[in-house]
């Protein structure tokens, strides 16, 4: 059985490695999140919003031309069709409802690709709550359309200027903000990372993805389970959501796809499980890219949402125990996969999701296998990178 223990560990990964200053914030959440999210009125409001506001259930689409090409039965879980364009909103809807029930008046978030920032700004607008999004200065440049969307939605975008000026540093800044504003603020983390209870709470909000997948696949194929599920992993929230209800179904292969950047051993990579070691990042014991002295190494990927030197503790556990397989994909392979998908299926994927699609070229599977690829987001935000690749 794969599950979290009472101290917040999946196997040896997880926990809460936080300064005492953060303890009251995290403890309030830990003591209350489960009670809150299992209450009937919470569940009702959550599912109502997922249906009428987000547009769930998202389709499980049989990709005919794509399947013919790869000689397998390939389905896409269409998270790109969620309101705001990615799976991130499943989690922000859940967390804003938690924040309201904790009487929080101010929301902070970190963002890499800007999808989580947009999803947070969106639910804050929906609920009329103040919203501050920390974003690495480098990501503000490369994901400009999402910065404009956040501002239009009324959020304040604060640049993170330290370190690699990407997702890791935005997360540091958000955590510092929370330390300085412990009573009125809720921090909506955008992935299955951070101190317990975040990884588990976010995974549970995202688990709606695999809950729907199970029903949809059975309806469409009569099969209870696919042979494999493929998802990209930045922190790992879309993958956690896509894997969640299959974690204990050993017949389903779980494929976690990481960003290799310029190559796993190029020094310019974000392939955490390939070159990472066990340590502590953002309050969680997990796999991360670090030096022998425990300094966190600055990652690199063309995809802002995967440009992170750690992975969530659930994935660290799944990969090190052999339950999940990790594949790493370079910038170039992801770009090629994005163009191939666009031209075979008429779907422009997010750069993050494109990594999951590129993994088809590395996966060894049997002809006729049923494979679900989690299409975590749409590619509008990445047009600049795609156009540049075209030239």
């Amino acid at each position: 059985m794969i599950s979290i223990d009472e101290k917040g560990y999946y196997g040896k990964f997880g926990g809460a490695y936080i300064p005492e200053l953060l303890h009251p914030c995290v403890e309030e959440l830990r003591l209350n999140y489960e009670k809150i999210m299992t209450q009937p009125d919470f569940q009702e409001e959550f599912h109502h919003l997922l249906r009428d506001y987000v547009g769930r259930p998202t389709p499980l689409y049989f990709a005919k031309r794509y399947s013919e090409h790869f000689k397998a039965n390939i389905y896409f879980k269409r998270e790109d069709l969620c309101h705001t364009g990615a799976h991130k909103v499943n989690n922000t809807i859940g967390q804003i409802l938690v924040a309201q029930r904790l009487n929080k008046k101010r929301i902070i978030a970190e963002t890499g690709a800007g999808q989580h920032g947009v999803a947070t700004a969106t639910v804050c607008a929906l609920m009329g709550i103040e919203c501050i999004v920390y974003m690495g200065e480098k990501d503000i440049e490369r994901q400009a359309p999402n910065v404009k969307r956040m501002k239009m939605l009324g959020a304040e975008v604060r640049p993170a200027m330290s370190g690699s000026r990407t997702l890791k540093d935005a997360t540091n800044e958000a955590i510092r903000d929370w330390i300085n504003n412990p009573s009125d603020t809720h921090y909506i983390i955008g992935s299955v990372v951070g101190p317990h209870p975040y990884p588990e709470m976010v995974a549970r909000f995202q688990s709606v993805i695999s809950e729907e997948m199970k029903k949809q696949l059975l309806e469409k194929t009569g099969k209870a389970n696919p042979d494999a599920i493929i998802a990209c992993v930045g922190g790992g929230s879309n993958a956690a959501g896509a894997f969640y209800h299959y974690l204990n179904d050993e017949d389903v292969r779980l494929i976690a796809v990481e960003a290799a950047g310029l190559g796993v051993h190029s020094g310019e990579t974000a392939a955490t499980s390939a070159i990472g070691t066990e340590g502590v990042i953002h309050g969680s014991r997990t796999l991360l890219m670090q030096t022998q002295d425990g300094q966190i190494v600055e990652p690199y990927s063309i995809s802002a949402g995967l440009d992170y030197p750690g992975i969530g503790p659930l994935h660290a556990h799944l990969i090190s125990s052999g339950r999940a397989e990790a594949i790493s994909i370079t910038d170039k392979e992801a770009l090629d996969a994005a163009f191939f998908l666009s031209r075979t299926e008429g779907i422009i994927p997010a750069l993050e999701s494109a990594h999951a699609f590129a993994a088809m070229n590395h996966l060894d599977y049997n002809e006729g296998d049923t494979i679900v690829i989690n299409l975590s987001g749409r590619g509008d935000k990445d047009l600049a990178a795609y156009t540049q690749a075209l030239d």
Binding site: P19, L21, I179, N180, G279, V280, T291, G294, I296
Partner: protein, 261 residues
């Protein structure tokens, strides 16, 4: 005996603890800074192990840490520098950093190095209490290395009791809920917090830290605890001064003036 324990046995008030980041402003300033701080009348020194992602720290310590890392600071070098500094002074030395640094270095090797280089205590703000108790307490105690845990205005009483039970040396009392380097206004709420802790009758002495920057805030803090810790203000001063030695002496006597009268 451990130098931290000796200090607190012999001195009960106006204890001045100064923090600096090892490797900043220059890679090899560590021994000089320690020696001059000791000469100038500091009671205890906290040596920051620069970290790439110092979550609990404000801008000043973040920046000094990244300068130190760019200068090439790393743990083996730091232990060598501390060994050198130890030749010249008996001042208690505390290493402050993040748990991942100790974890990667190897806790046993780390503690052995502390013993060999004359380090007396550690502060690891993100090491969970239960994990210290389960995995490291025996190791620290066997080697007579102290550990200080932090409490804040929002730490519940039951946790303060636990901190008091596990701490040996001194409790690090954070003045307000903020990252390092902020302002410490002695407002009513803060005084109520200081008094509440005083009344708890804890076993360990207490030092107040975060936002102490000058003799006014230092002497105020000393009314409510055994002393206080200055970090960011000292680092900013190091950056301002051309002459390391002179700057340190000016800073420490500036802090001390009122309290010593």
């Amino acid at each position: 005996m451990n130098r931290i324990k000796t200090l607190f046995q012999n001195k009960k008030e106006d204890i001045l603890n100064i923090y600096f980041t090892a490797g900043h402003p220059n890679l090899n300033d560590t021994a000089t800074i320690i020696r001059e701080l000791a000469h100038a009348g500091t009671d205890l020194i906290e040596v920051g192990m620069p970290y790439s992602d110092p979550l609990a720290d404000g801008l000043t310590i973040q920046q000094s840490s990244s300068v130190a890392l760019k200068n090439g600071m790393h743990l083996d070098l730091l232990f060598t520098q501390l060994k050198d500094a130890r030749q010249h002074t008996d001042i208690p030395l505390v290493l402050m950093g993040y748990f991942n640094q100790v974890l990667q270095y190897g806790p046993e090797k780390f503690i052995r190095q502390c013993v060999d280089s004359g380090v007396d205590g550690l502060i690891l703000p993100d090491l969970p209490l239960f994990e210290y108790e389960r995995d490291f307490k025996a190791l620290f105690e066997a080697n007579d290395i102290c550990i200080s845990f932090l409490i804040t205005p929002l730490t519940e009483d039951y946790r303060i009791r636990k901190v008091d039970e596990l701490t040996n040396g001194f409790i690090y009392m954070v003045s307000s809920n903020a990252t390092t380097g902020g302002k410490a206004d002695a407002d009513q709420q803060q005084i109520a917090y200081f008094n509440r802790i005083e009344k708890m009758g804890l076993n360990n002495p207490r030092l107040i830290g975060f936002g102490i920057s000058d003799h006014a805030s230092f002497s105020n803090a000393c009314q409510y605890a055994n002393g206080a810790i200055i970090g960011s203000a000292f680092i900013r001063n190091l950056e301002k001064e051309n002459d390391l030695r002179m700057g340190i002496h000016r800073f420490v006597s500036g802090i001390r003036q009122e309290v010593h009268q």
